[in-house]
């Protein structure tokens, strides 16, 4: 047994209840039927056995997952837990939702299946997330109301904010305040955009203004959020790393994300992650419903092998192997690279942004360590 958990991103529906104009997913009115879910469950458990791992972490996304209804998830939770227990394996679930369709009917399954936590998404300012009628303002109102209700129900809410050109035009203080004050969320992750799939408006941002914004945001977080326990990813993970603590760095900075993840969508398509599975057919690993097994498909897929070979290629052809930040970045994210350059065999287009962040986080962590009392500072060799 390797002891390492398996991570899978599941897109059980490609349907969505909103019309965000920068979405990278090819949406369709299509969802996984219950009997198909049983087949997916068996395949996951077979793959876990083949990998020698006893634990899998399943990330449920869409489309919009809440469109499936709470009963679908109650059934999924019960049947998957039963099948896993019969084989001495365990499945752990996380959910990412736009919260537009959230109501109290969801609370029992969110507590039971997702340990009382949910992830959602919102940008500031909201220029791109729209209800079907096209309104961004109404979207924001509905989302804020749902967040408030979920928090009042005792659910832990984390949010992913995708930066876009409009974000760089607001102050970092206003940006952070929208999430922490207006939405009352203290668990925030900032993602960088890429122009993927059919969407528009998610263009790769220019290095200089993006770097300036992120460094401002880092400073504001240090002044107003850090000591209050506000989690702001990826800064908090970098801070942990530079403070000598175990750090959970985001997927974009894993040594080789193709060793870490796979995504399965409602058509049975399998790819590296949700960013690839619906939008880039030529980079899929195969179709789950037509394969002998998930393990066989992953092991034999030339598309997956291309991803596996990417870091090696970067070490040979880019300057990554000479970079002092290699251990934090490993060449960065393949989908952001592909969307910006048309190839995965190049380093992340946000390379210079990352370097500036790493350098500043390192300085701030060193200052924080110096402020600590000596006893907390020393760590024996």
């Amino acid at each position: 047994m390797s002891g390492r958990p398996l991570s899978l991103i599941l897109l059980p529906t490609l349907d969505c209840n909103v019309a965000c104009d920068y979405c990278f997913e090819e949406k369709a009115r299509l969802s996984l039927a219950r009997d198909q879910l049983d087949a997916v469950t068996s395949a996951i458990l077979d793959h876990m056995a083949a990998q020698g791992t006893t634990r899998a972490e399943l990330y449920w996304q869409g489309g919009e997952v809440l469109l499936l209804g709470p009963a679908w998830f109650e059934h999924a939770h019960a049947s998957m837990a039963r099948a896993a227990a019969e084989r001495g394996l365990s499945l752990h679930h996380s959910i990412q939702t736009n919260l537009i369709g959230y109501g109290p009917q969801w609370d029992p399954v969110l507590r039971e299946m997702f340990d009382g936590s949910l992830g959602t998404s919102m940008d500031f300012p909201n220029d791109h997330r729209r209800l079907k009628n096209g309104s961004t303002a109404r979207y924001t109102e509905v989302w804020l109301r749902s967040v408030r209700r979920a928090r009042e129900a005792g659910l832990a809410v984390g949010v992913i904010a995708v930066l876009h050109a409009g974000s760089l035009g607001v102050s970092a203080r206003d940006f952070l305040s929208f999430y922490t004050q207006e939405a009352g969320i203290d668990d925030l992750q900032v993602n960088l955009p890429f122009p993927g799939g059919p969407g528009t408006g998610g263009d790769t941002l220019r290095t200089e203004p993006l770097t300036r914004f992120l460094l401002d945001l880092l400073d504001v977080w240090m002044q107003e959020g850090f000591d209050r326990g506000v989690k702001l990813s990826p800064f908090d993970a970098l801070f942990d790393a530079f403070s000598g603590r175990e750090a959970r760095l985001p997927c974009i900075w894993q040594p080789n994300c193709a060793n870490e993840f796979a995504a399965i969508d409602a058509r049975g398509n399998v790819a590296l992650c949700d960013c690839w599975v619906t939008s880039y057919p030529e980079h899929r690993f195969g179709n789950f419903f037509r394969a002998k097994s998930l393990s066989q498909m992953l092991g034999a897929s030339p598309a997956r092998q291309a991803f596996l070979d990417r870091p090696k290629h970067l070490m040979q052809h880019e300057d990554c192997a000479r970079c002092p930040h290699l251990s934090l970045c490993h060449g960065g994210c393949p989908v952001r690279t592909f969307a910006a350059t048309g190839t995965i065999l190049a380093k992340d287009p946000y390379c210079e942004v990352y370097k500036a962040l790493f350098a500043r986080c390192r300085e701030l962590a060193a200052e924080a360590v110096q402020r600590r009392p000596p006893r907390a500072r020393a760590r024996p060799v």
Binding site: A241, R322, R375
Partner: protein, 252 residues
């Protein structure tokens, strides 16, 4: 030793050297309780090995081989794994990649050139300050342990070249001519001879740690650059020692 020579050595733990697929099959035939490590190339590392056996992956050409570590880094979750990097040009890049992948490193050094020592200084900087460099880099790690905790060791033992502990068998089954003589008292005798001959070792503050390691096989090797490197390590130990002392004061 080459895996094929294992039957000739029926006693003790073995480090099996595997440089081709045929030798890998021979290694599989050795009782697993006798196998301390498998020493192999990066190209062969992902093969089938005796259960639980540790892997020592040797990068003979560090600049060429370093990117390939990304192919095999996942093996560290399945068995003990270490990367041995030859102390030749490219060692800093290879060590940076290995450290980034959180792989333990052993630097295989024998009288390194000044240029290589400059690269080793970069490796030391990464070992001391890279936040993700969590695995040991030898000999730096052992040298710090000796300085901070009084662990009784020399560079000969840290780098597994003390013949009283590790004996290296050549491909023909005889003693490896590139390794120190197979004599348990070699290290002590070598150092005593250097001191008696008035070599730099006589006055060197790192004599206890080094024990004449860098003066072999050529006793006229100029040690100043390597002493500078050891000095950097010593300075880092001073800082750590101070922080640990502050820590003890704070605890009282």
């Amino acid at each position: 030793m080459p895996a094929g020579w294992a039957p000739e050595h029926p006693v003790g733990q073995l480090v099996l050297r595997v440089t081709c697929a045929e030798e890998a099959a021979l290694a599989d035939a050795v009782p697993s309780e006798r196998v301390a490590w498998i020493e192999t190339t990066v190209a062969l590392a992902a093969g089938e090995w005796p259960a639980e056996a540790g892997l020592d992956v040797v990068l003979a050409d560090p600049a060429r081989d370093a990117p390939l570590l990304y192919d095999i880094a996942r093996l560290r979750h399945e068995r003990p794994m270490r990367v041995t990097i030859e102390g030749v040009p490219g060692v800093a890049t290879a060590a940076r990649v290995a450290m980034a992948l959180q792989l333990p490193v052993r630097l295989r050094l024998q009288q390194p050139t000044e240029a290589t020592i400059a690269e080793l200084a970069a490796v030391l900087e990464g070992y001391l300050h890279d936040p993700q460099a969590t695995a040991p880099v030898e000999f730096f790690h052992s040298a710090l342990a000796r300085r901070l905790h009084g662990t009784p060791l020399t560079l000969w033992t840290a780098l597994e070249r003390d013949p009283a502990v590790h004996r290296r068998v050549a491909d023909d089954g005889g003693p490896d001519p590139r390794a120190p003589p197979q004599d348990d008292g070699f290290v002590a005798a070598h150092l005593a001879r250097l001191v008696a001959d008035g070599a730099e070792c006589a006055r060197c503050r790192f004599r206890g740690l080094c024990a004449g390691y860098f003066k072999w096989p050529d006793s006229s090797y100029e040690c100043a650059p390597v002493v500078g490197l050891l000095g950097q390590l010593d300075a880092a130990a001073n800082v750590l020692e101070r922080d640990l002392a502050d820590s003890a004061d704070g605890a009282r």
